[in-house]
């Protein structure tokens, strides 16, 4: 599955537009990591646990978006956009959406 956030992919042409696909996930870390992050807030610096959480969520959201695209017979998702929102304390929602298309190589 080709995932891209541009609309015109070099050396590829869009054969067919299939429509909008989206993948979203809400995830949380276990309480221990939340507490550690709370301590970290005092000293500053990167919150490793949350970096990891958001990365995992983003991967999951992209995976779900791809699953939707695959289900309708697409082989690429173009113009992908991410949107993140804090839904609850310690939990975040990540949404990935894009246009599912069928692409073919231009053979140039």
């Amino acid at each position: 599955m080709l995932i891209s956030n541009i609309e015109v992919i070099p050396n590829m042409r869009v054969v067919r537009h299939l429509g909008l696909v989206q993948g979203s996930t809400v995830r949380a870390k276990h309480a221990g990591k939340d507490i550690m992050a709370g301590f970290k807030n005092i000293f500053g610096g990167e919150l490793g646990a949350y970096t990891e959480l958001l990365q995992e969520s983003r991967d999951e959201a992209v995976a779900r978006m791809s699953e939707q695209a695959r289900a309708i017979g697409a082989n690429a998702v173009i113009n992908v956009r991410f949107s993140t929102s804090a839904i609850a304390a310690g939990a975040s929602e990540i949404l990935a959406y894009g246009t599912a298309v069928e692409v073919a190589e231009t053979g140039r």
């Binding site: 869009v14 054969v15 429509g19």
Partner: protein, 292 residues
């Protein structure tokens, strides 16, 4: 390249799993409550181990006032004075009985003890943080001699000297924190808010082991005070006579395993022999009207 002729029919269950929500809830609730029970057990044990080492002065500063907790009016000052006098003389006798090999003076300095008589219409006695001991006026109608009342007071003194309030409070705080973590802020306010204020007494209730320990020490204190333990079972006998009354239920809520305790006391009386005659209640504490 043109537009599709319609939006795609995307299968359900990709972004929102079709799992039954109750299943997730049950698994989570079972797992977390299991872990919580283990945690509370461990922390309860720790509280027991740590309690003797917490300086008494800390307990004093953490103590809420008994008046706030019970919200009862002050009783007749004469009776309150008589109760304090009896309590203080018992307290002096209790200093002769070491607490787990330590001098009771060091464990809980006697000058910090506060005794009060509160105007509540159910028979009960409380010991809470900061060596505050309260007896309800209604309790006086359930004892017929000074010895019976002395047993109740000695029992509460024993709780304080054994550091039970701080141990129970420690456990109570643990339970509250665990609840708050478990149920989130909103529900913890709903559930825990009342625990922290209104039901402090319920949290400060002691478990079976504590009650039995306190009873044993109370009997020792009575022996040191009167030379015998005759009459120690009065209050229990009186309460047990009508085990279905509302008074009894109220009492049983804060004092578990009363039957077992009565057995212990009676056994002590039997072993010590009948002893000397019991002492009459001080006049100020005698009920002026018969039990209804």
């Amino acid at each position: 390249m043109s537009l599709p002729d319609g939006n795609p029919r995307i299968p359900e269950g990709i972004n929102a799993r079709n799992d039954h929500p109750l299943r997730e809830f049950l698994i989570l609730a079972a797992g977390i409550s299991g872990a919580l029970v283990a945690l509370v057990l461990v922390l309860g044990l720790t509280a027991k181990l740590i309690a003797p080492y917490i300086p008494f002065s800390w307990e004093l500063s953490a103590a809420p006032s008994m008046q706030d907790l019970l919200a009862g009016d002050d009783a007749d000052p004469g009776a309150a004075r008589a109760l304090s006098a009896l309590s203080n003389s018992l307290l002096q006798s209790s200093l002769k009985v070491p607490v787990n090999g330590k001098d009771p003076k060091d464990v809980a300095p006697p000058e910090h003890f506060r005794f009060s008589l509160v105007k509540l219409d159910y028979p009960n006695a409380f010991a809470t943080l900061g060596a505050q001991i309260a007896v309800t006026e209604a309790l006086l109608q359930h004892v017929s001699s000074e010895n019976g009342l002395a047993m109740v007071l000695a029992h509460e003194i024993a709780h304080v000297q054994l550091r039970h309030p701080i141990e129970a409070a420690g456990r109570g705080i643990v339970v509250q924190i665990a609840l708050a973590a478990l149920l989130g802020d909103s529900s913890a306010n709903l559930l825990g808010g009342s625990l922290s204020t209104g039901s402090m007494l319920t949290l400060l209730s002691f478990n079976r082991d504590m009650e039995l320990q306190a009873d044993r020490r109370a009997l020792d204190i009575l022996r040191a005070h009167y030379g015998h333990v005759g009459g120690a079972d009065e209050f229990f006998l009186d309460m047990a006579a009508d085990p279905h009354s509302a008074d009894w239920l109220e009492f049983a809520q804060t004092h578990p395993s009363s039957k077992r305790r009565l057995q212990l006391i009676r056994q002590a009386i039997r072993e010590d022999g009948p002893g000397d005659a019991t002492v009459a209640l001080p006049e100020a504490l005698q009920p002026n009207q018969p039990l209804q």
